[in-house]
């Protein structure tokens, strides 16, 4: 689907001193670039900056390009980046179907949207879960719904912020496979930050140590 690469062009993030992070990189469609490093070096701040949520007190220079588009010129909601946190963050006031529909672009009849939600649920092995309360789902089920919600928003690149660190070991392998398979199938350039080397190895892409 997406064919544009994600490029970080001399990005430097400072917090009133020397840069915490200074990076240039290019991620091809379907490729997963892993940023590794101990906590506190500003990996998550870099992802936040790319998504448009640089915390108060930080300054950033350089450009984030998706194909020819300078993402820095767009508000967060128009960047179309799929962001996965370590928590699934399913909206607790909506049911599972509502969470998925929240991610889908507007348009289509009520019926079409419902069908699309159901197809998506079939796709992640959660058929018939549309009216379930997210609070009653298991950790693995929540993680899958969160992934599907991001994919339904038709992102053009993915940002993964320690996405597997809160899952137990058995689930972790399964989720890794699912996430990476979707990323390759949809040809999404992906940036992943983690401190788990197994994540980096499973991703099979280049690794940058910070």
């Amino acid at each position: 689907m997406s064919t544009a690469p994600l490029r970080l062009d001399e990005i430097a993030i400072t917090h009133g001193g020397p840069p915490l992070i200074d990076i240039s990189a290019s991620v091809a469609p379907g490729e997963i670039l892993t940023l590794m490093g101990p906590s506190g070096v500003g990996k998550s701040t870099l992802l936040a900056h790319i998504a448009g949520f640089l915390p108060v007190g930080f300054q950033a220079s350089g450009r984030v390009l998706l194909g020819e588009t300078d993402l820095g010129l767009l508000p967060p909601e128009r960047r179309r980046l799929g962001l996965l946190f370590q928590d699934p963050l399913l909206f607790p006031h909506l049911d599972v179907g509502g969470n998925l529909a929240f991610g889908m672009p507007a348009g289509g009849s009520r019926r079409q949207r419902r069908d699309e939600v159901n197809t998506a649920l079939d796709d992640i092995g959660l058929s018939g879960f549309a009216e379930r309360d997210p609070g009653t789902l298991s950790g693995g089920q929540r993680a899958r719904v969160a992934l599907m919600r991001v994919l339904l928003a038709r992102p053009r690149a993915m940002l993964l912020d320690e996405p597997f660190s809160k899952l137990d070991t058995a689930l972790r392998d399964e989720m890794r496979r699912l996430v990476f398979e979707r990323i390759r199938r949809d040809g999404l350039p992906t940036l992943m930050v983690t401190h788990d080397r197994a994540d980096a190895e499973a991703a099979g892409g280049p690794i940058i140590e910070l």
Binding site: V56, P76, R79, G135
Partner: protein, 568 residues
């Protein structure tokens, strides 16, 4: 809605204007008449004669003394009781119960609490009935003056009881901010008793955080009307009550004297604040050595005893006062010293249903509209904070308190002068706006914490999924914060229902609410009807809080995390 962010950023300015303009205009509107200028009333020359008239008003010294003393005494008593209550019960099991008992009492309107207290402690009240004749030997009501004793004891007592829940809740909100739990634990592990540990280890950090609410208490206590009309002496009354009487005088030239009196009231209130501030200096000077003297258990038992006694006494009196209201409303013939009226009758309730319609509907519509305005502005201010990415400045926070820090009688009177001068109609819109002015600080204080603490990742997830700021606000923030928003609404509704003076002045006395009716009835002789009105006045805020708790449970009964509070 591409203009959402632009629009939302304007809201704080509107809110500040709503808070500042009426206060400043009101004060300006009271200064000119005080010096003789009020063309609509025929005052076209500057003069000091109204000040001379004020100076020779009978009993002026007593009025000033009453305002100062009852105000300061009740503020001091409130502070002492709340401090001892926290020191005695913080981090104990009983604390939860105390909190659950006192919090709803915050919603009891001042007038209803004052009426309940008056009926409890008056010579023929429930308290003296309970001890008569077996203990006191009284076969007839004893001869003492309460309420309305000339030194203002009843008034100070009423103010204290009503301010305790307020200061306690403000302190509870501030305790986590000053890490009270850790401080207390540290002090106790160093061998300090619970009272000494709290006073020496927690209070120095807690006090600065509750200083502003305390100042608001002093301002209210030195200048309130409805509690003073019900519990205070009447000849002479406290200054603020006298000012309101002059305002209502058929002789229009008394309005000039009222304006001068309003300025004097500001002076008296400022004087009370100054005395309090000097007291603060003194205590911090004298306390510096005491903090370091190393004594760990001095007065420990006395402090605990007093703390326990006063806490339960305060709760007991408030509960008994409310219980007494219910009895009076159902009483038929109730001779002294019977403690229980027999037979019970619904006569007073039936009598009330005939006349209560207008004031009930006024109370509800004004309350809902004022709360609506205040909630919209509060939400707008807090959402604007999100987009400006910094909290309101300290100055702005102070302005939020402004209507609580200037005596009502001073600037409301000025607003009425403008109203007359401009030929505007007194009535529903003016009253509603003035209520919103006093509701806004409370809705803001009530909602700010939950709104600011909401995990920013909810917004970020929604934004990366393509939701616009407007859609995030409407589809994520509002529903997820529905419970605290409803509670803020209930607080605001309760505040509006309690308002007396704004309704009286800006409604030109023609608009009646449950509160104005209850205060009027209290000065008459019909205890039964008064009790019914006070109970109605009490029931409405209670209903508001019940709805605010029940509705989210109903909405989210299939949403586990919304009920457990994980969402906020």
């Amino acid at each position: 809605m591409p203009y959402f962010v632009t629009a939302i950023r304007v809201v704080p300015a509107i809110a500040l204007a709503l808070l500042i303009l009426p206060v400043l205009l009101g004060l300006a509107g009271v200064v000119a008449p005080a010096f003789g200028w009020h063309p609509a009333l025929g005052g076209e020359a500057w003069t000091l004669s109204h000040w001379q008239a004020l100076g020779s008003a009978p009993g002026l010294d007593d009025m000033i003394r009453l305002s100062l003393l009852t105000g300061l005494a009740s503020a001091l008593a409130t502070l002492i009781i709340v401090t001892l209550c926290l020191a005695t019960f913080l981090e104990t099991r009983a604390f939860g119960a105390i909190r659950r008992l006192l919090s709803p009492l915050l919603a009891v309107p001042h007038a209803a609490a004052a009426i309940g207290l008056a009926f409890l402690l008056t010579p023929s009240g429930l308290a003296s009935r309970l001890v008569s004749p077996w203990l006191s030997g009284w076969a007839h009501p004893p001869d003492y003056l309460f309420p309305g004793d000339s030194i203002g004891l009843a008034l100070a007592l009423g103010l204290t009881l009503k301010e305790i829940p307020f200061l306690l809740l403000m302190s509870l909100a501030a305790l986590p901010q000053c890490r009270a739990g850790e401080r207390l634990m540290m002090a106790r592990s160093l061998g300090y008793g619970r009272i000494n540990g709290f006073l020496k280890g927690v209070m120095p950090a807690l006090y600065p955080l509750i200083r502003l609410p305390l100042y608001a208490i002093i301002v209210f206590a030195t200048a309130n009307i409805e509690v003073a009309m019900i519990l205070g002496p009447s000849t002479p009354p406290p200054l603020a009550v006298a000012v309101v009487r002059w305002l209502g005088d058929p002789d229009l030239t008394m309005r000039f004297q009222a304006a001068a009196g309003a300025l004097l009231q500001i002076g008296v209130t400022a004087g009370a604040l100054l005395i309090w501030w000097l007291g603060e200096r003194l205590v911090s000077r004298l306390g510096a050595g005491w903090l370091r003297d190393g004594h760990r258990r001095r007065g420990e038992r006395l402090g605990r005893g007093l703390g326990t006694l006063m806490t339960w006494l305060a709760i007991g009196v408030l509960v008994a006062a409310l219980g007494g209201l219910i009895l009076w409303s159902l009483a038929g013939y109730w001779p002294f010293p019977d403690a229980w009226p027999a037979p019970l009758t619904l006569h007073a309730w039936q009598q009330a249903t005939m006349g209560i319609g207008t004031s009930l509907s006024n109370t509800v519509t004004i309350g809902l509209a004022a709360t609506g305005i205040a909630l919209v502005l509060t939400l707008g201010c807090l959402e604007a904070e999100t987009h400006r990415r910094r909290p309101l400045s300290a100055g702005t926070q102070l302005i939020l308190y402004l209507p609580l820090l200037v005596p009502q009688v001073a600037f409301l009177q000025g607003l009425v002068q403008w109203q007359t001068q401009a030929g505007l109609n007194a009535g529903w819109p003016a009253v509603t706006l003035s209520h919103a002015l006093f509701v806004l600080p409370y809705t803001f204080l009530s909602l700010a914490e939950s709104y600011r603490r909401q995990d920013p990742r909810w917004r970020q997830v929604a934004a990366t999924l393509g939701a616009s700021p407007a859609s995030i606000f409407l589809r994520i923030r509002l529903p997820m914060l529905a419970a605290p928003i409803l509670v803020a609404g209930a607080v605001g509704f309760a505040v509006s229902i309690g308002q007396y003076l704004p309704t009286l002045l800006l409604g030109a006395g023609r608009l009646t609410t449950l509160t104005t009716e209850a205060v009027n009835l209290a000065s008459g002789g019909d205890r039964r009807l008064t009790a019914v009105y006070a109970l109605y006045q009490l029931a409405l805020p209670a209903l508001g809080f019940a709805l605010a708790t029940a509705l989210p449970r109903l909405w989210w009964r299939h949403r586990r995390q919304m009920l457990s509070g994980d969402a906020a």
